[in-house]
């Protein structure tokens, strides 16, 4: 794949390294600081351009206008946004991915046309909350830009669906049980699988149905 990366800080650097380890990619990295550029160019097998990747001509001048993906991982959300917008609108790059430092900016970026956003702060907060959630229902993963969630719940003995077949449960709409863990074993269930106490069920649900699902599970 041909990849353009804006930002040669820690994230950009490790991203290049990781991508090169994973496959044959042609990577162009844009970084403003000269010393940083020299260090990265010396060590990694990618084209390093000392330039502001958010200038309108930058990608073209570097020969990266036909990239398959543009990834903006600088430390500033506004720079990442502009890089993605220019990539999409001027260069018609199909996929744009931006790092967002402030998790609140996910919505803004989505509204303004960025395909995917990643916030490590958001993920870490989710992990923290996942570990500390009260009650036995918690979110494992969110994807499709927040529209789909994977939820895990432990079946308690008071649950009304204990000892019932999945097909008889009257499960809420837009949710599906994708896995059941029981005594260290994982099962992909079918309609005739019976749910028992202490089972851990993993459910895929549309985020907008999450509350219904939670009420059902508790």
């Amino acid at each position: 794949m041909k990849i353009a990366i804006i930002g040669g800080g820690k994230v950009g650097y490790y991203l290049v390294k990781t991508l090169l380890d994973r496959g044959k990619h042609s990577i162009t990295l844009f970084e403003k600081d000269e010393d940083r550029c020299l260090d990265i160019a010396e060590e990694l097998d990618c084209l390093v351009i000392r330039a502001d990747g958010t200038e309108v001509d930058s990608l073209a001048l570097a020969g990266a206008e036909d990239s398959d993906v543009l990834v903006a991982v600088s430390g500033q959300d506004q720079d990442n946004l502009v890089a993605c917008q220019i990539a999409k609108t001027r260069y018609h790059i199909e996929k744009t991915i931006a790092r967002v430092n402030n998790p609140k900016n996910h919505n803004v970026f989505k509204l303004l046309g960025v395909d995917a956003t990643v916030s490590s702060t958001g993920i870490i907060a989710q992990l923290i909350e996942g570990e500390l959630s009260l009650g036995d229902v918690h979110t494992l993963l969110t994807f499709e830009r927040g529209e789909l969630e994977l939820i895990e719940a432990v079946v308690s003995k008071d649950a009304r669906y204990v000892d019932k077949k999945i097909s008889e449960l009257g499960f809420p709409k837009n949710c599906i049980i994708v896995a059941v863990y029981r005594s260290g074993k994982v099962m992909i269930p079918s309609g005739s699988t019976v749910i028992r106490v202490d089972d851990k069920v993993v459910v895929m649900t549309l985020t907008r149905n999450k509350e219904n699902l939670k009420r059902f599970l508790e």
């Binding site: 958010t54 200038e55 309108v56 001509d57 500033q76 959300d77 506004q78 720079d79 946004l81 502009v82 917008q85 220019i86 609108t89 001027r90 402030n102 609140k104 900016n105 803004v108 509204l111 303004l112």
Partner: protein, 143 residues
């Protein structure tokens, strides 16, 4: 009329003071409170400390009631993002964006319909005009 000025550098401060003196309601947003000292003692509006791309900061500055917003910091990209949030998320009727880089100003004006102002372009064109006037007067050349 309620105006939000995002960025209290020399331009922002001058603009905010001028508008406030004319009786408009002004709110100034800047991440560094020291910059508010540029506003002078007579300044009649409100100041909000924070980054203008933060929804909460903008709400604190009253963006939901704003008639206009001018994004005038020295950071082009910050101004662009602020303007897009103001217009597309908060539906502020009039949004003005300072973008120093002439190509970027033109790009965002054309592709995103932002009211961008490249002071570098204007300043350069203006001075060029003065120089042309001067040289044609002096030598009688018609240009």
């Amino acid at each position: 009329m309620y105006v939000i000025i995002a960025g209290c550098g020399r331009l922002g401060a001058h603009l905010a003071t001028s508008l406030s003196d004319k009786g408009l309601d002004v709110a100034v947003v800047d991440g560094d409170s020291k910059n508010f000292s540029k506003l002078g003692f007579g300044f009649d509006g409100i100041t909000v400390i924070g980054v203008p791309i933060d929804e909460d900061v903008l709400r604190k500055a009253g963006i939901e009631n704003a008639d206009a917003l001018a994004a005038v910091s020295q950071d082009d990209n910050l101004n662009i993002m602020t303007a897009l949030i103001a217009r597309d998320m908060f539906n502020v009727p009039k949004v003005y964006v300072r973008v120093g880089d002439p190509e970027k100003a033109e790009f965002y004006r054309k592709e995103y319909k932002l009211e961008t102002l490249s002071l570098i372009s204007y300043g350069s064109d203006f001075i060029e005009g003065l120089i042309k006037d001067y040289s044609s007067r002096d030598r009688g050349a018609v240009r």
